[in-house]
Every structure is written in C-alpha cells, then in structure tokens.
Symmetry: C2
Amino acid sequence: MSIRTSTRVRIYDVAAAAGVSIATASKALNDTGRMTDETRSRVKDVAARLGFRPNAMARALLHQRSFTIGLLTNDTYGRFTLPLMAGVSEALVDQGVSVFLCAIEDDPALAKIHVDAMLDKQVDGIIASGKRIDRQLPVDLENLSVPVVYAFTQAPENGVSLVSDDAAGSREAVEWLKGLGRQRIVHVTGPRSFASVEERAGAYRAAVGADAQVLFGTWSEQWGHEAVARLWDAAGEKPDAIFCGNDQIARGVVDALRERGVSLPADVSVVGFDNWEIVAEATRPPLTTIDMNLKELGREAGRLVLALAAGEAVAPGIRKLPCTLVVRQSCGGGPRS
Amino acid sequence: MSIRTSTRVRIYDVAAAAGVSIATASKALNDTGRMTDETRSRVKDVAARLGFRPNAMARALLHQRSFTIGLLTNDTYGRFTLPLMAGVSEALVDQGVSVFLCAIEDDPALAKIHVDAMLDKQVDGIIASGKRIDRQLPVDLENLSVPVVYAFTQAPENGVSLVSDDAAGSREAVEWLKGLGRQRIVHVTGPRSFASVEERAGAYRAAVGADAQVLFGTWSEQWGHEAVARLWDAAGEKPDAIFCGNDQIARGVVDALRERGVSLPADVSVVGFDNWEIVAEATRPPLTTIDMNLKELGREAGRLVLALAAGEAVAPGIRKLPCTLVVRQSCGGGPRS
DNA sequence: TTGAAAGCGCTAACAC
DNA sequence: GTGTTAGCGCTTTCAA
C-alpha cells in the first residue's frame, strides 16, 4: 500500500482496498466484463466509501475523447452569448461534458490562441457564436480536426449552423398587432447593413402589404425617440402600432410617445425584439416583444456538436429555430390564446 | 512508421521525421536537456513543419496539472460575471490556462454536479463568483483538493476573497459631488438586506455628516421614480444632488426629475453605481457613475488562483479592490483632474 | 550528446 | 470470474 495521503484516490487504491486487481475494479465500476454480483457491489461500495472519482484526464487520453467542448464568442457583452451558453451547458451537463468559454473580442490573434489552446486540450467539438448572424468570427474554423457548430454567427459554406427565424418572428409580431385590430403598423429598426434587419423588414413588408413603412436607423433608444419625432411631426395620419427592430429602440419609442402624451397601449401598440429583460421589463409599460429563444438554440447547438463528436452524420446548412412572442403590456391584449 | 493519417501529429511523428528518439525530441521542444544546437533546431523545424502541438491531456496526466480552472457563478444574468470572466480569461490566457464556465443558478444539486465534473477534469483551481458579496454559493467549496478563490461572493472563514471597495466608491461619489459645490446630497439605494447597501450608506453618512439622508428601496428604476416623488413632494428644501445605489435607480431618478422639469445637471447632480453601460449610457443625460472594476477583480482572481495552484502562499482574508468614478454628464463637471 | 525505459491513471484484450 | 499486460502521448531519470 503506497503512502499518498494528500492526493486523490485512484482506482489502484480501490482495487487494493477491495482485494481485487485494478482490472476487476475497473470492470466493476464501469459495469462491464463479468464477475459475481458480490464482487461488483463490494468494489462499488469500497469506491463510494473512499470517494473514488475516476481521473478524466486518463480516460480522455485513452479514449481520445475529453468530454469537453469549447464555446467561442466575440460577444463580450454577453447579451446573446449568456443565454446561449446556459442552453449549451444545460444540454451537456448530464452527459458529463464541460464547456470552455473563450471570449475573443474581435481579435484574430487572440482567437487563434484560444482555438489552439482548446485543440491542445482535445476538445470534442467547438461551438462558434457571435453577436450577429451575418459576420464570421475572426478565425478560420474549417478543416479543424474536431467538429464545429455555428450558433448565431455566420457559418462558412457547408457549416452546420443555427440561427433564429427572424422572418417568422417578424410575421408573428405583425400578426399579433393585426389581431389586436391595428391598421397602420410602422417598422422602426436598425441599420440596413445587418442581415437580420433586412430579413425582419422583408417579412414585415410581406405581412403588412402596400402600407408598409420602414424606418432604418441605429440600435439605440435615441433612434427610437427620433423616429417617433419624425412620424408624429409629419403631416397626415399617425401610426397605431410600431414594430421595433429591438428592445432598445422600442423603449425609446415608448418613452417618446409617453412624452408626447400619446396613450399606450390605448392609442398605439409597440412590439420590441430580443426580449432583453433588463430593457423590456423596465419600460413603462413593459414591452411585448419577440424572444429569439437563444437558450433553446444553445441546447440544440450542444446536442448537435455532441452528435457530430460521436460520429453521427449531421446535414450541413442553416437551421432556423422559431421565435416566440412574449406578451407584456405595451400592446394591450391578454395572454396569447 | 504507423499509418495514422487522419489523427493529430504526435511527438513520435516529429521524432521519426527528425531522425531522433522521442526523448530527444521532447527535450529539444521543451528547451531542456542538452544536445547540439543543430539537433535542437532541426527538431523544432520539423515540429513546426508538421504542425505539432503537444497533447495537453498527456501532459496533464504526467504533471498532475491541467492548465485549466473552473469559474463557478450563480449570476445567470452575467452582469457581474461577464466582466469578471473577461478579466480572469485575460490573466490566464497567456499562461495557457483555459476556463470552464459553470452557471449553477441557485441549485445545490447542479452546483455539485458541476464541481464534481471540474474536479474529475483535474482543474488546477476554482474561482467562485456570484451576484452579491453577502451570500455564499449553494455548494461547499472548503477542503477541496484544489485551491479556491472567491470573487464577488461571500467566502467562508479563511477563504481567499476579492471584493470591490464599496465604501471607498461611495466616498468617491460624495467627494465628487461636494467638489462640484453640492450641499444637499441624498442617497437613494437598494434594500437594507444587502451588505453592500449598508456599506455604501455608511460611507455616505460618514462623508456627508449630519445632513445625511438615506432612502432604502429596491434595485429598480421604478424605485428611483418613487424616491424622487417622495423627495420633491415633501415640504422644505430640495436636494441638489442624489447619489444612487445602482445605475437602474439612477436612471429612474434622472427620468423622474426630467419629467418634473428639474434641470440636470444644472439644478441637480446624479451619480449612479455599477457603470452598467447599457443603463448608464442610455440615460439622458448619460450617468456619471462608480465602476467596480470587475474586470480587474477578475484578473486578480486569476492571478491568485494560479499562485495558489503553484503552491505559493497567499494570505487568506478579504481583499478590497478600488472603485473608479466614471464621469459622464449627469453631474456636470469636466473630466477628472 | 543521445536514447531506452518507466510511469502518470485508466481501460480493454487476452490469459488463466 | 479474475488477473496480467499493453498502451493512450508525453516527460524524465538514468545509462550508454
């Protein structure tokens, strides 16, 4: 019996304490091989008593599988990454898989360092995520020796990619407003240079028809204020609903309307996009908004990367996941039917 | 020469290609042992050409050191964790250390699963972090086989702990307001049940003196509104400055003052706490506020956990890191001298 | 100056 | 039913 008190208990210690060989101990603990039930349970008891936990490194070295994946993101703010991460983690934790989080800003050198570090640590796969779906991360992830899943960031040709269904979310918002009896629905959104802006605006136009009016601007509260000024200072009929490209714009819109004495939701309904709770819930009245279900997106990304790591075939291409309307008080209308 | 095309290149391959033994190859690459410079550089060239990267698992198994640490947090929102994480990552990345992020909500079972998984993976240390400094995480981290550093969460007796210096931050805010010539400074803050609320309020009282007036409430914009209503609807002299317990309260205060026609910063100065940019920058005018320097706190936590892992002695106890005043426009006054 | 061999903790063939 | 042994990729004595 070797003298190593301060260190972890190894399978060797379990075997010795149970009076069997380490092979038998291993088989007993992994429910493989054959032996009497008595031996198996004795070994298990001893292991439990000693607090034995197998060394994942040794296992990984043997199996070429580390039960570890890497999550790469350039979303320092975490607004998109955190819910995504929560989903990934949730999908993987009961498989015993842990997640390396690497925030790479937009620095290619830093990105490379992190990717190399993950590869050195033999991650089973990588999930690449970002803050917009029409930009690639500043690092080339093709032809890596491990599978890659792209979540909420642009994927290369033939990449396995997951995004939320912007168009469907947009349609959902418009339909909700229509269902409330709104007739003059305007869309106030971010910069045209964002693919999701065009996607949402396109779906909005298709749903609203000839009357469609889109105001492009920035992703800020201030732009929401300004857009309201433009709309209300113009001659002619005013909108009775505003569908906003994100929650910050929506908050600006709501504040501006209130300051003008426009009654919400009586006279005008406002829908946001993102369901960023810090913004949506602090708005007066709280925002009805579209949730991109990023946590579910993360779960799916976790499942996919694991499937890939296990050698299962996964069709490349872009998978669009549904958005959900979250009803608060900025539109009127009760909970959804 | 074995046939393994699809797999990573091992030191064996490098040795073979360079015509040396793996022992020599290893020494060459690690700048240990002795050999001719020619041999060493030849091996290095071959390794570079082959794109050799050592298997971190094998190394870890050998050295009992995984170059991996775990970051545990119950701050799902990420408001505190993300900057912290960024700092940790920054401090560790050039040491080749990667970070497992584990979001545990407030679920003891989940926490245990994650901690066990990290331990199985032989992390070199753990950083425990949270969303308030007067609550412990729902898991016992004492007597683990690896070092633990507590950052922005309550540590057990004798833990190594890092928090921001709330009292100093509070003093800084008050001094700034005094320096601007403000005479009637009120403090509007969160619930008394938070240690940091008492800490900040105490320092505020000490700095302001007999006139000190503290309004306790919740951490919300709404409470900011309500506090202004109380203060301005009361008889007597009005405050000329409000120091708020966080940025959300400050935003509520600023909005309420504007709605009352009080001119900011001409008549009243407002200081927030947290420097949560999404809130501070969207406020009109943008908030002057106290930054807790969580990123630096993260860096320090990373350094400490590494020192501990390396066996260096680190004195237990609470380390308070300084806060910084960030000047925007809600107080008047130029950039700091 | 270089190389053979042992071993980190574990699992899986293969003997017995 | 149980044990012996080889080996995952690497570093490190120790011998040549």
